[in-house]
């Protein structure tokens, strides 16, 4: 049952009228003493961006999941990250040259606007090509700029050769 705050009607409510006034004064003074204790302590504010001893970026822990980065030199185009991403913010296109039978990456885009920084794409990457950086400053005035393109349009890049063990893993992944 809902009851209104008629405290006088409730039996056992602590204190008399003057007792409660006394309580109020004591408890307020006690609270004030707590806040006063903080007056002389060092402030904990981090003076981002320019008045920090080190840039904030460098103080972040190693595992921090910031904006994604790709090392094209170690990417084997196994597409494991594209498959692992639940929302499809990674787009990879691979073409096969019919004559030389070689595979080329023609597109590797990561939409960091859509990305949710969950780290699920980093886990399956066999060579550690895709990884989260400590970068977190990405504000732009146009949402188009938030697409990171790792292969310039029109170009094609030969993927790195997977090491044997990695190749098996990647193969098992694809099946």
């Amino acid at each position: 049952m809902a009851t209104t705050a008629s405290t006088d009607a409730v039996p056992g409510f602590r204190g008399t009228y003057f007792g409660r006034i006394k309580n109020a004064i004591i408890s307020i003074m006690e609270g004030m003493s707590v806040t006063l204790g903080y007056l002389l302590q060092r402030p904990i504010t981090i003076q981002y961006p320019d008045r920090t001893p080190k840039p904030v970026k460098d103080t972040l822990p190693e595992r921090y999941r910031g904006i994604l980065e790709l090392d094209m030199k170690t990417c084997t185009a196994c597409l494991a990250c594209e498959r692992a991403c639940p929302i499809g913010c990674i787009k990879i296109e691979v073409v096969k040259d019919k004559e030389t039978k070689k595979r080329y990456i023609t597109r590797f885009d990561i939409d960091i606007a859509k990305c949710m920084y969950c780290g699920l794409c980093v886990d399956p990457c066999p060579g550690g090509a895709i990884r989260h950086t400590n970068e977190f400053e990405g504000s732009t005035s146009d949402v188009q700029y938030l697409v990171r393109r790792f292969v310039p349009p029109g170009e094609r890049i030969e993927p790195a050769k997977p090491k044997k063990k990695e190749k098996e893993e990647a193969g098992a992944e694809g099946s």
């Binding site: 009851t3 904990i44 595992r63 692992a84 920084y117």
Partner: protein, 372 residues
Amino acid sequence: MTEFITEEMTLNMGPQHPSTHGVLRFQLTSDGEVIHSVKPDVGYLHRSIEKIAEKVTYHGFMPYTDRVDYVAAMNSNFAWALTVEKLGGYQVPERAEYLRVIAAELNRISSHLIMLGVMAMDIGAVTPFPYFLRERETINDLLEELCGARLTYNYIRIGGVSSDLPDGFRDRALRFLDHFEPIIDEFNRLITYNEIFVNRLANIVIIPREQAIAWALVGPNLRASGVKWDLRKDEPYSIYPQVEFDIPVGKGEVGTVGDCFDRFIVRVDEMRESSKIIRQCLDKMPEGEIQSKLPRQLKPPKGEVYVRSESARGEMGYYLVSNGGLNPERVKIRTGSFSAMAIMEEVSKGIMIADMVALISSLDVIAPEIDR
């Protein structure tokens, strides 16, 4: 004496209102200061998570569980991992269980910090909130070291956790707890037993035991009504049976059992218990693997499970139906805030408008947990 003629008035509160804890809307019908009825209007943050669950994989749904309850995301992760593990019968290494519990309890503390700070602010005490945000930053730093994110952790994986403890984490966590436990006492001195604060919460909106059960209240709200029920203790999962802790229940310290003050103080006490659990886990943690070997593409067998676990806002249940394929057939998430919001309509009849704010914040509702 002539009778003073009054008439009913309809008020709208929210959805953009500073004390509604996210986007909630209330239609109040009041006669002067006395509320006749409250109709909560939710769904302003209905993000179709249950439908998305049918489109993503079992691993891929984990980040979404973060967003079901963003203040206690780790507990939400935990619940989903428990559900899929039960459905598929997957094993979890012991060290991973300890890591999960440490992370979940740290997160429970930070969730209660937000709740207590916001509640104090809604009542009119602004100071505790920045104090608690400061403590929360330290927890965020610890969790950030552990899993790489401050709020949406995605740390717990099906069959384990994503990463082991970083170097020096144990010392830093213990140092934090040494620092934090006196902070709770300091908080009690600062605000909890302040006469004005107590008067605004004691005997306000009492929810008796039977009503709390019938309306399916869970977690701290239920315990505040005097029901000693905690899934961590009574239906133990993970390594909770191996650690010692108490279950704080509402005692009616300054008023009646089940009033707003009990809902407040239960959470204060729970932070102490969480701190105890973390200390024990850090001591007992064995060495070993943190992730059992599971295929990248999970295909749990056909079937259905309903698994409950104790989140910061009470019981979090996942009802999962699997068709044996890559994606779940149906996921229904049962959350504590949903039923806490449902009871609003019943218990707010006849209370004052000023007590309404105390009621909302004492129930500790989080908008996406209601709406999902």
